[in-house]
Subunit: 123 residues, 2 copies
């Protein structure tokens, strides 16, 4: 974890959509790369904001009252407690940041998309 | 702060090197854009790691025992307590993340490069 991370190299190791890979740690937070395609699951995190930076493609972050369209080179932070459901109508590459231990599908949702924390250095 | 951030638009509002602009908050952390050119100042943060993502250009993060060359599309986290001095031999655009309240020049250094926290929404 003491080396720089090349994001293209990291994305090359991502093997499935919605399965983030931890590439760095920042204090108590994990920095992840993820590829997404399709619709995730409605969820929320009561104790943390949820950081999305789109590196390629276009991501629709569905909120209950609106959609936020996040294009490459744009970021959005879902505030804690706010239900959201990301949807990608094309291949999207994301940088995500959440506290270590945060479950990707949120506080109350266990789904087939729930993914264990995986570390780039462990692959 | 409840809207998405277009990084190109945010960089267009950065008016001076080494003067970061807060574009979002993530829990107790601030997400900033910064342009740098030239050499910063040796400093460290005893209580926090220091996140650098290079969006354009090439940044040299000088550590006491080595240089880390961070290119566009690469990130590096300087661990807490580690002295570092970023240097940009060309124009570099960065995304930075640190806890709110962190002084850019570190714990012990007051210099002409010490910058107040400034918020994109306040410009």
């Amino acid at each position: 974890m003491n080396e720089k991370v090349n994001l293209a190299d990291a994305f090359a190791k991502v093997d499935a959509p919605f399965r983030p890979l931890i590439v760095a740690r920042l204090n108590d937070h994990k920095v992840m790369v993820a590829k997404v395609r399709g619709e995730f699951v409605w969820h929320k995190h009561d104790d943390t904001d949820d950081f999305f930076l789109v590196l390629s493609g276009r991501l629709t972050i569905q909120l209950r009252d609106r959609d936020v369209i996040v294009e490459a080179g744009e970021l959005f932070v879902v505030p804690r407690g706010v239900e959201h459901c990301p949807r990608a109508d094309e291949d999207v590459e994301l940088l995500l940041i959440e506290p270590l231990g945060t479950v990707n599908t949120g506080d109350a949702v266990e789904s087939e998309l729930t993914a264990a924390e995986r570390d780039l250095d462990d692959l």
